[in-house]
């Protein structure tokens, strides 16, 4: 799998992402500067990593979403290319119009930085085929604005079309206000676009891929992408 990581000023999780991709996919990802107008030839996966692009000025991800490279990302996505946005990357994808809705300030107003449990809602997508439907995984979050919001029609469509792939839950997989760490609509942690080739999620699967991290639950996401591409090839 040839992956490309987008690098915006203020991003700080791009190396974690590169390490995870290298480890799971066995191939060095390309780092693509925001001012570029094209992606490397043969790219299979574009990743918008976490961090604080442009210091979260104006709205999280708002300025990065208008960077020159994003036109290339939009074209790549409209050709069916796989795009993954994590944390600030999710905010960037929402601001760029690749995903619906927006990430608002956490309902409790606090920056949340700890492990959370996620329920994988289905396994028949490129972004979840490394897991079983209903499986609970443990991955870290680190965000102040992860409270997913969208109008009622959008939420209905996301639910109706099975586009919520990851939801905050209890260690045993129950969904509810107690486990919805940031107040997100429907406990949404990750959604895909209509076509299913663009995923945005607040948690950091790239930070749970090695034994030394204490957990390897995040590997499945990347391994699933590799398996998906191998199958498609």
């Amino acid at each position: 799998m040839k992956s490309a990581i987008l690098v915006f000023p203020g991003i700080n999780r791009e190396r974690d992402m590169a390490r995870a991709l290298r480890l799971v996919c066995g191939r060095e990802p390309a780092m693509v500067w925001h001012a570029e107008t094209s992606l490397p030839e043969g790219t299979d996966l574009v990743v918008a990593p976490g961090g604080f692009s442009y210091g979260d000025y104006l709205r999280c991800g708002a300025i990065a979403a208008r960077a020159p490279v994003m036109d290339a990302v939009r074209a790549f996505a409209s050709d069916g290319g796989l795009v993954l946005g994590v944390c600030n990357g999710f905010q960037i994808l929402c601001e760029s119009g690749l995903l619906p809705g927006i990430l608002m300030r956490n309902a409790g107003l606090k920056f949340i930085c700890h492990d959370v449990h996620l329920r994988v809602e289905r396994s028949d997508t490129p972004f979840t085929r490394g897991y079983n439907a209903g499986q609970v995984i443990r991955v870290p979050v680190a965000h102040g604005e992860g409270n997913y919001a969208a109008d009622a029609d959008t939420i209905r469509r996301l639910e109706g079309e099975g586009r919520v792939l990851y939801r905050y839950c209890s260690p045993s997989g129950e969904i509810g206000d107690t486990h919805n760490i940031n107040g997100a609509a429907q406990s949404i942690a990750g959604i895909v676009n209509e076509r299913g080739n663009v995923l945005g999620m607040m948690p950091h699967p790239e930070n749970h891929v090695e034994d030394i991290m204490g957990c390897t639950d995040g590997r499945g996401l990347f391994a699933g992408l590799v398996a998906h591409l191998e199958r498609a090839a």
Partner: protein
């Protein structure tokens, strides 16, 4: 030419920051505060006539200054 773009949250959109400010105002003992919603103000200087300015500012608000999923905006050319 000077102009002002005011961006406010749409009705019904939860505003945790506004709520926190509301709580702080109440704890300061300032009376009569019913509710607070936080917004943004952009003071912008630009060239051209009024019509051009209004077109440019509307484009600026639609493309960047506001996220129309959750926000409304108002453009005022102050002259």
């Amino acid at each position: 030419m000077k102009a002002r773009v005011t961006v406010t949250l749409k009705t019904g959109v939860l505003d945790p920051q506004g709520k926190a400010i509301e709580g702080a105002l109440k704890s300061l003992g300032i009376e009569g505060i019913a509710s607070v919603r936080q917004g943004k103000v952009f003071d912008i200087e630009l060239d051209g006539d009024r019509t051009m300015a209004e077109t440019a500012l509307k484009a600026a608000a639609d493309k960047l200054l506001a996220n129309t999923v959750i926000e409304n905006y108002r453009v005022e050319v102050l002259g």
